[in-house]
Structure formats: structure tokens, C-alpha cells
């Protein structure tokens, strides 16, 4: 157990590759990375989301490998930086990023999928466009490795497309609950989360609730990575606000709209970051500020009321 401040200070370094989350986003850790002024991160995820837009404004993130820019293109600053090369990227897909993380997690050098066969992803001008991540792919002999490659299968001679394994330096993610050992429990659609955590060298997790090990052990099927894989577990209620958390709260659409609106212009982004990120000490402070500004009701109204608790929970037993 530690604070988000301690976790980011200890485990996130300039230039790291960071698994930034797909559908369970830790805005608590996102905001802390911005506060600490970490620079030059590469964000990877099946889809990158508005937390990556926020981290791009002051150069915390300047490189991206993803299948989808989710909501990020509403930001004129982000579009501008993609155009002038301040943000560099290569394009993949939801599945191929997930499989690349899986390969990283499984210790494989690459993985095979046919997603780009017959498409313009295979053109030289796509793979090595002027703002692509060529430098990240430079081999020891100075040549540039391709971002993916077509081979003839040695087994049946048919075309096969290989994607290199992804092994991020650090993962940041939010979860429903964890215990103090860092056993991470997640439910709902998981996208690439599990493999983002297995493949990353260091895993930082904010948890909505910290529960005893005995709670974890009655429902071990919800654990997506075991405690030894997790470098830091942080208790952070509302840790994914303004995005949602399945079973706990809905996305704060009005606030996300405000955030999104803030990020659409340089001026708006500056004002938002100065007030809500640099202007708050930590996530608890951010939530307190939100309540002071808008009242308790706004947050309370986001809480999920129909939590669908099981009538017949899974039962374990051995004698």
C-alpha cells in the first residue's frame, strides 16, 4: 500500500512505455503523472482514451501505439501535435495491441494475426510515415525494424502476419477492489486490461475498495493478476472519475464533457490542468474540490443503484 504520489515517484520514469488503460482508466494516476511532470512517455493500449489527451498537453506522453484514438481527436492541441510531429505514433488495432501485450506477458517474441492482410497498413508509407515511431524500432545495427511483418508460414506456406511483443515498463489502471497484497479484482468487459498488467514490468493499481484477503479468496475468479505481479496498490475512491466503474458509478458525462471541452483548445487545456490537476494535491483533494464546487449530489447521482448482486453466488468447497 502506498499513495499515488509515492507510486508514480518510484515507478514511472521519463521515456517509459506505459500501458494507459482501455476501459477502466485510473484518472488518479493520470493526474499524478501530470503533476510530477514525467516527460516523454509512450502510451500503449488497444484504444487510448481522454486520459492520454490530458497527458499529451504538457508532453507527459509524446508517443502512442494504439488501435483507436477514443475521444482524443476532439482535442485541437492533440490533432495539432499529431500533425507537427510533437506526438509520434504507429497504428495497430484493438485486437493486435491486445495480442502484442499477451505475447509480452507470455514471454513470446511476437504473435500472429491476419488483421492487416489486404489493407493499406502494409504500405511502406503507413509503417514508416514521417511521424511514425521509427526511432523506437531502431536495431543495434542501425537498421529500422518494421512495426509488423508478413511472412510465408514455414508450416503451410500461407501468408502470415507477425506483430512484435509489447512489454511496457509500467501499467496504470483502476479496479473495483484489491487487497493489501495487490491481488487485483476486476469485473465487466475487460478489453485488454489483464494482458496490459501481465506484460508490464511494474503494475500500479488504484482500487475503489481495499478488502481483506478473505473477500478475495471467496471469489478468486475475479482476480486478473495476483499480488506478486503488482508493484503498488493505492486506495483511491472515485479513482476513475470522470470515467465510470462497472457496478460502482456511471461515467460523469457532463464532467467528461467539460474535460473534453477543456482539452479542445490550448487555452481550455491550460485552464483545466492548472485548476484541476496542478491545482489539486491528490485525487482525494480533486474529489473534495469537485464536491465543494458542484455539491455532493452530482457525484451521488452517478452511483449505480441496481447493482445486480447474485442470487446464487459461485460456491467453492472441497469436502
Amino acid at each position: 500500500m502506498m499513495t499515488a504520489h509515492e507510486a508514480v515517484e518510484r515507478f514511472v520514469n521519463d521515456g517509459d512505455t506505459v500501458y494507459s488503460g482501455f476501459n477502466i482508466i485510473s484518472f488518479a494516476l493520470t493526474n499524478e503523472i501530470i503533476r510530477q511532470g514525467i516527460k516523454g512517455l509512450k502510451a500503449v493500449a488497444g484504444s487510448v482514451t481522454p486520459n492520454v489527451t490530458m497527458m499529451s498537453i504538457d508532453g507527459n506522453v509524446n508517443r502512442i501505439e494504439t488501435g483507436y484514438l477514443s475521444g482524443t481527436l476532439r482535442s485541437k492541441p492533440f490533432q495539432e501535435m499529431m500533425r507537427d510531429g510533437r506526438v509520434k505514433w504507429n497504428d495497430y488495432t484493438n485486437m493486435t495491441i491486445t495480442l502484442r501485450l499477451m505475447a509480452g506477458g507470455l514471454g513470446m517474441p511476437f504473435i500472429c494475426a491476419n488483421s492487416f492482410l489486404g489493407t493499406d497498413y502494409l504500405l511502406e508509407e503507413t509503417m514508416n510515415h514521417s511521424r511514425s515511431l521509427k526511432e523506437d524500432r531502431r536495431r543495434e545495427d542501425g537498421s529500422i525494424a518494421p512495426p509488423y511483418a508478413v511472412i510465408d508460414s514455414p508450416f503451410d506456406g500461407r501468408k502470415a502476419l507477425l506483430y512484435p511483443a509489447l512489454k511496457p515498463d509500467v501499467a496504470i489502471v483502476h479496479c473495483q477492489r484489491a487487497d493489501e497484497e495487490g491481488n487485483v479484482q476486476v469485473w465487466g468487459p475487460q478489453a485488454d486490461t489483464k494482458w496490459g498488467l501481465w506484460s508490464s514490468k511494474n503494475v500500479l493499481v488504484t482500487a475503489e475498495e481495499i478488502v481483506p484477503r478473505s473477500v478475495i479468496s471467496t471469489e478468486p475468479h475475479f482476480t486478473i493478476v495476483p499480488g506478486f505481479k503488482v508493484s503498488a496498490v493505492i486506495h483511491e475512491p472515485w479513482g476513475s472519475h470522470p470515467s465510470g466503474l462497472n457496478g460502482y458509478y456511471r461515467a460523469d458525462r457532463e464532467w467528461a464533457g467539460l474535460t473534453g471541452a477543456g482539452m479542445t483548445t490550448w487555452h481550455g487545456a491550460r485552464e483545466y490542468l492548472d485548476e484541476w490537476v496542478y491545482g489539486t494535491k491528490n485525487h482525494a483533494d480533486y474529489i473534495t474540490k469537485y464536491k465543494d464546487r458542484f455539491g455532493e449530489d452530482l457525484l451521488d447521482n452517478l452511483r449505480v443503484k441496481d447493482t445486480m448482486a447474485p442470487e446464487q453466488p459461485a460456491r467453492y468447497g472441497w469436502r
Binding site: 495480442l99 497498413y121 468487459p189
Partner: protein, 271 residues
């Protein structure tokens, strides 16, 4: 509830026409936005036994109540209300789609071309885009492996191209034999439902023979052949069996307006 059956928009007709392409009993991977709305309409209306799956991991979504609006995003929390399985992307796009178990896909795209290739990457050229778009999401993964693609987008000249500005998702590529040459399995019958009409593709065997070109098959009520032809920038093939599609039924319209949840999906001006 009584509604005026003459008073519907072309965007609503696009969703209804897309839903009508979805067959009962088939397994389907459904993309975000209008596809989620169309497939939800199909599921409530005529395809209660379709397998409705989205790429972030919910498998076999059966809405627990007819009061629920359609999901908007592929990881929408409402998709776990009534799903048989809450998996991840390896389950959904990996095992279900690439493993060959998805019989159809419902996808939106920014552009489609003469041979049914989809584009969700950019308008213009890669080095100097007029507009960068979000990227493929799962469309490329799905287009490579699914048996049949139902695509949907408004009929506008900037969206219908002789060749897509960027091919993110393989259709018939450059024509007959294109898929096989690229290393992909046959696919079809593919459809594209728009705000004016429904297109098919000229191939009987999933892309080996025939011209593999887009073919106008059905016009919406009140739309003229000329209106479609002048929007399409190449010499469009027209089916010898060109028909008019039936207008929306009362049940379809009432369901659609409920599922659209006060216009959250069909944002005016965008469709």
C-alpha cells in the same frame, strides 16, 4: 402509442435498413455507435436469437428489460446486464471473431469504396491528411475474419470513393480474387445500408468470381435512382432486380426511438 408513419428521418431509415440485414440465430460482432443501435433493434424486433457481442468482451448480450436504451459504446456498462459471458478482447476479437465463430459483423465506417473496403483512418493522404480519424478499433480484425459484413454510413459523395483514401478493413480489395491473393478467406454476401438505399456486391462466392463491385439493390421510399447515382462518383452498377424497401413499420419506429434514448445515438446533423 400512435405515431405518424410518414414522419421519419433518413437516418432512422438507415438504422432500420441496417437492422433488417441482421438475421435471427446468427452470431454477430457489433461495432460502436449506429451498429450497436441497429443490432439492438434487430434483437428486439426480429432476431431475438442472434448472438450479440462487442469487442471489449461482453458475449451474448440479452437485454434484461425492454426499458433499457441500446448501448452506445462497446464497453457500455449496460452490456453486462444480461450477458452470458463477460470476457475480454482475446475472447471477443481473438477466439470469437478470428477463431471463425462470428457469422456477421455490423460496422460503421467513414468511407467505403467500389470494392467494399472500409476506411476509418483518415481523409486525404497519410502524409497530409485533410482529417485524421480515430483509427480502426476492431474493424480491421473483424473484416479479415468474419463471414459477412454489414456496413452502415450516410450516403455522401465524400464517403463513397472509387478507392478508399485508406483501406483499414479489407472488403474485396481490388476485385475478384483480391481476398485470396491477400491471404484472406471468402466473405459475403456483404451489404452496405445508407441513408438512401442498400447496396450489395457483385459476387456469388465471396470474392472469387463476379466483378465484386458495389451494386445498388434497394432504394428507400421517396429516393430516386438519379439521386443515388449522382452521389456515387463512379459508374454505379444497378441490380436488375432493383426494388423499393418497405417503409418503417410502427413497431420498428417506436422501438428505435426508445432504443435511441432521446437521440443519444443519432445525433442530428451527424447522420
Amino acid at each position: 402509442m400512435s405515431i405518424n408513419l410518414d414522419d421519419y428521418t433518413r437516418a432512422e431509415m438507415m438504422i432500420i435498413a441496417t437492422a433488417r440485414q441482421v438475421r435471427d440465430g446468427e452470431s454477430s460482432i457489433v461495432g460502436m455507435g449506429p451498429p450497436l443501435l441497429s443490432a439492438a433493434l434487430a434483437k428486439y424486433h426480429h432476431a431475438p436469437n442472434m448472438w450479440y457481442c462487442t469487442e471489449s468482451g461482453p458475449l451474448d448480450w440479452i437485454p434484461t428489460s425492454r426499458e433499457l436504451p441500446a448501448p452506445i459504446g462497446i464497453a457500455d456498462h449496460s452490456l453486462t446486464q444480461g450477458s452470458a459471458m463477460s470476457g475480454d478482447m482475446v475472447d471477443a476479437l481473438g477466439a470469437f471473431v478470428n477463431g471463425g465463430w462470428a457469422q456477421s459483423a455490423v460496422l460503421q465506417a467513414a468511407q467505403i469504396d467500389r470494392f467494399g473496403n472500409l476506411n476509418t483512418m483518415l481523409a486525404g493522404t497519410f502524409e497530409d491528411p485533410i482529417r485524421r480519424l480515430p483509427g480502426t478499433g476492431g474493424n480491421a480484425d473483424i473484416g479479415a475474419s468474419v463471414e459477412r459484413v454489414i456496413s452502415t454510413m450516410p450516403l455522401e459523395t465524400r464517403r463513397f470513393k472509387e478507392r478508399a483514401d485508406f483501406r483499414t478493413t479489407a472488403g474485396y480489395i481490388d476485385g475478384p480474387g483480391g481476398r485470396a491473393e491477400a491471404g484472406l478467406a471468402p466473405q459475403g454476401p456483404n451489404k452496405c445500408a445508407t441513408t438512401m438505399c442498400v447496396f450489395g456486391f457483385d459476387t456469388e462466392d465471396g470474392g472469387t468470381t463476379g466483378s465484386c463491385e458495389m451494386v445498388l439493390e434497394q432504394l428507400f421510399p421517396g429516393v430516386s435512382l438519379e439521386e443515388v447515382q449522382t452521389t456515387i462518383p463512379w459508374n454505379l452498377k444497378v441490380s436488375q432486380d432493383l426494388t423499393y424497401m418497405d417503409p418503417p413499420t410502427e413497431e420498428e419506429l417506436v422501438l428505435l426511438r426508445h432504443l435511441d434514448d432521446g437521440g443519444n445515438h443519432l445525433i442530428p446533423g451527424r447522420y
